[in-house]
Amino acid sequence: MWVQPSEVFFAPFWSVERANPFFSLQHRVSHKENGFVAKVLGTLDTVRESKPTPYRILLQMRTQDFMMSWVVAVGHSKEEIDYYWNWLDSNMISTLEAFDDNVEACSFARAKVESLVAEEEFRRSPADPEMKRFDEAERRFLETFKISSEERERLVNYFSCSHWNSKLPRHGWMYLTLNRLCFNAYTFGSELNIVLRWTDISHLEHTTFRMMDAIIVKSGKDRFVFCFISQQGERCFQQLQQLANECVQRHLKHTALPEESQNEVSRQTKKPSVRLLTQKTPIDKREKFLLKNKLDTKKLTEEKIRFFRLPKEELLHGHLRCSLHNPSNKEDAIHGSVFCFQNFLCFESKVRERMWIVIPLLEISVIEKATFSTSALYINTRNQICYIFDDLSNQRDFLWKLISDFLAKTSSTHHNKASVTPFEIQQPLHIQFPPPPSYFQSTSETERTLEEKEHAWEHHFNMYGRGVCMYRTQELWDLVHKGILQKYKPDIWMIFSGAIFYLNSNPGYYEELVMKSDETYLDSFEDIERDLHRSLPEHPAFQTDIGIAALRRVLRAYALRNPSVGYCQAMNIVTSMILLECDEIQAFWLLAALTERILPDYYNAKVVGALVDQRVFECLAEQYIPELHARLDSLGVLPMITMSWFLTIFINAMPYSSAMNLVDLLFYDGCKSLFQIGLALLDLNRAEIMKCTDDGETMSLLSSYLERITNVSNPHSVTRHGPGHTVGALANQPSIDILELIESANNRFGHVTNEMIEQKRNMTRIHVFKSLEESARKSVLRGVINGTLFTQTELEQLYQLFVDGVPEDGFLPISKTAGAPFKEQKVDCTIFCPLFLYLSGWSENEKSGEYGNELAMQAFRLLDTDIDGHVSFKELISLVSLLAKGRLQHKLVLLYCLHIMPALDSNGLPPDIPDKITTEDIDTTDKKDLTTTIEKEINACLERRKRETDFSIKFLSSNPPNLTMEQFFQLCKTVQHLSIIKEDNEELFRAIQEFIAGIIQEGRNNADSTNQQDKEVQQTREEILITSPAKDTLQLPTVESSEQSSRTSSSMNDFELVDATDIPHLITNNLSIDLEELTSGEGDTPENQVQPKNPSEDLSINPPTETQAASQTGKQFTNQYYLPPDWFITFDQFLAHFEQHAPLCEFLSELTIISLQ
């Protein structure tokens, strides 16, 4: 680009490429070149943040005494700089030459360039220096790691740091992208590149190393230490963690495509993005917004959405400081921040949880600028709650406009759809199934406490409002912790879990799902059905069909909403509990709130979320009750007991009426309450736990303690459940009041916050992910080890390769294996083919590279026995094991089987979608019937194989169908291509020729004998012109008849036009020409490798040039020489012929995969 002309004095590192009297084009000595200067320069470049562009154009002014130079243009590439050079050449030189005075010419040139710069800048939006630096870094990154733009690897952030390898630090740059962590250091000629995918990382730690701020990254057995100067370490660590977590979560959500995540990020910021409203700079129209800012935005948005329990899709527009008048005391202004979301206005007090509010913008009825102050704003809601925001300073107008604009747009749309539901919505079950009257013999004392409670609640509602918009105060928190009164439960649960927002914005959604669930069937429905009666069997509501039916509807609807979760045991228990207190629509949305937000991934495949929280719980225990934790750890109890605590919100562990209070807390406070209670439980039993000697004892101790927890205020509890450990003994032991437990949890562990837990979740998610992957790996390997010829280590290497993919230019691709997380991974053909070529050594051999792909497709289909478009590791191993270690016999079967697939059609092109070899595909070829016939046969064959478990003999035990002519030509082609690997082997080549000749003869005999047997085929014989060689193979004889026919080998048929003995020569000539063409085309194979053996070859046959030459050759050949259309050979014949040729056998048995170190 043009630059503001600046004078240069000294240019030792630049070499001149082109020059004319006025300008000189120079390029910078690169560190890739040799020489000392280059090395010094390279080192300097890596240390400095901005690297000068490699090309520049100087304007040079020569006078008698001196020379002056100005840089006028710089370029990152030769092309770029050439463009400017050419422009100068064609537009400037002639003008400049017209000047008499050199000085004048130069000043003209400078002025011209200046105007060009101005013009260019005008066109470009003004870029801030940070942007520029970032651009620079991104370019440097792409260059260093040779990332093609296709790969769409985008830089998120970069840090200057040093990597400590053994004893020496290497200074360099750390680049973070959406998929990878990269590090590059260049010091005096030696370059160090580290590339890690986020999925490779098993451990991240922020610590100090030799008194320095350091981050330790572990990947497999490798450990990397990066040290930071200045305060960058913390920031970098957070970003590392965020990116690694995003990656893990992408995996969990099964959308492993990096593009999608980019879209997700950009979608978030396409709308006005987060920034401080106080910031003056408007969001400019720059398309390119820094990715790291996007990620920061995302992080803040997520954090606040979690805090205010807003719908996940909400967008944060911005936030500003203000104060809110306390309705209970007009003098009291609560300081905090107001957050503007797309559909919500929220406030959070500076003092944690003192007060916060969430106002859906739709609820606002009036917004007014206060008169008493220039910085205050009144807001009134539809249900008459009033807020006074103050200290908005100069942002008041902005906020006012934002909200009134919103209201103006949406004022009239207040949907009040009263939809008719096709089934009766179940009301809270406790209404229909009240506790037996005996429970109402409550004393006057309990009645009085109830009354007092109700009074307190009513008082709060009067003071702070009711419903979504209520002031959420510390007082309310106190009330909730004493237990929510039954009649308020549904409202409070819905509001504080955020479920209410989903319910309001999706009217009729649940009803629709229920209707749909009547028509559809999911596998999980079976699981649901089995568990309906095993949910809360002790409650009368679930002993009748009333409760059961409601439970069934909710669980099925949820399974339909979220198929990736489907149904997980424990959801039934939690849901039945909710159904006692809420109607079923509310229950549905509360369940969604739990599984999707409060307890994320809990009920996922492999209950990942619960595993994560188990670890988090252990971390917290270690931190707060270290002694006890050490004891429990040595007993190994925690993982056993906490699983049911977390998954069922303690409902399985304690009487449900007590657990009900914990559900209150969970919905009100979020997940922290579970952790606090868990810690308190352990702490309260400290003395006893320390005395325990084994895991069983500890577990009994804790379970009996939990079973004794009662709810005094709600005596609906005495029912016992589950297998009691200490039945009978319970009566003698004192019971514990749940409220006491809650209070003790608050006092002792009240400082455990949701943010803390979220942070720890992020820390441990990677560990859990890795260990699950590890166990999946183990079980896959165990599944194959018995049926293979590989050793354990070889298998492990292969598995790694299978999961990682084939490295491209030293870069491991972003893992694209499919399959549910932590189950057997599968690959589709786009990954399989390179893998196959890599393993078979085919990729080394460029000459037949293209053909290799075709063969790989064949192999893919052969392996994809369940036709799901994916190949599992087990399936891959069955092939590779034969290739690498199989005996000759095995390999021959494999070679044969690879060609019985209906794959390559007349165009020689494999159908695009390998998994759907259905009629659509076949329609594209003109051999529909044939393909379907073969298809059927193959499918039958595959069916047979599927049933066989020992896959190493899979290929052997099957009885492959016969080869048609076309298939055989394909096979010949494969053999030929394979033989290229072996150079200069004339003997082998001759053997191939002879082999082919033999087979062709045999096949002809087969055809003849079949024809003789079957008189009806006579007609076909009379048709001299064959349109397609394969068409007539419709009359493919059954295996039995062909065997017969091969036995009754007949004499030559007079009907043929060419002497049969010529045919082998002709065909081999053709193939060899084909081969020659291929080899000579590539150039570096000795020409004499392939020599036409027959001087009397028919030159009228044009050598085909395409890669599918062989099949074309075959066709041409058939067309010209009228090979019988029903030519075929059987497997046995193939074997017999092959084994006659020693060099061939030798060659094939030697052939092995080469890339296993």
Partner: protein, 205 residues
């Protein structure tokens, strides 16, 4: 032999959801059957003192969650197991088919010293029901291919064969316990039983 250590046998019950693991355990330990069980989440255990050939041993029977997604949690419970009981429902062929994977999963996660000879016992539960779908021969056949696993057909509801099955389980576990304590250098405190479960007298036909 007076200084015998107290013997605690750890037995793990595995099998698909709803085959009756909890019921079997409760029938054996508490001699009762009820339809009012909650689905087991995580794991739970009961203990029972049993006499085996004049020896008093404590059996710690671990009941586990059956849904497949809980399989990976096993590693915490399987540690130190002496015997593994695989349960399937004779009316549900699928629950029989998954025995293989339950066995594999157990061996991977528990990683016992000698996986080939680790004692398993297979129980076909719910024989009281009419709609039986897995023939005895098929189950027996499978057990034979897996190193002759003892096989019992039980009904937790009717208390058929439960006692016998758990007796055999206890014996197997005791045998294994003796073996492992030998391995870790403890005094072998019981004579190794001469192939107690070879006879299939306990199996119903």
């Amino acid at each position: 032999m007076s200084a015998r250590r107290k013997v605690l046998l750890k037995v793990i019950i595995l099998g698909d959801s709803g085959v009756g693991k909890t019921s079997l355990m409760n029938q054996y330990v508490n001699k009762r059957f009820t339809t009012q069980y909650k689905a087991t989440i995580g794991a739970d255990f009961l203990t029972k003192e049993v006499m085996i050939d004049d020896r008093l041993v404590t059996m710690q029977i671990w009941d586990t969650a059956g849904q497949e997604r809980f399989q990976s949690l096993g590693v915490a419970f399987y540690r130190g197991a002496d015997c593994c009981v695989l349960v399937y429902d004779v009316t549900q062929p699928n629950t029989f088919k998954t025995l293989d994977s339950w066995r594999d999963e157990f061996l991977i996660q528990a990683s016992p010293r000698d996986p080939e000879n680790f004692p398993f016992v297979v129980l076909g539960n719910k024989v009281d029901l009419e709609n039986r779908a897995v023939p005895t021969r098929r189950a027996q056949g499978w057990c034979e291919t897996k190193n002759n696993i003892p096989y019992f057909e039980t009904s937790a509801k009717e208390a058929i064969n439960v006692e016998q099955a758990f007796q055999a389980i206890a014996r197997k576990a005791l045998e294994q316990d003796a073996k492992t304590s030998c391995d870790i250098g403890l005094e072998p405190n019981i004579p190794i039983q001469p192939e107690p479960a070879k006879d299939k007298s306990g199996c119903c036909t």
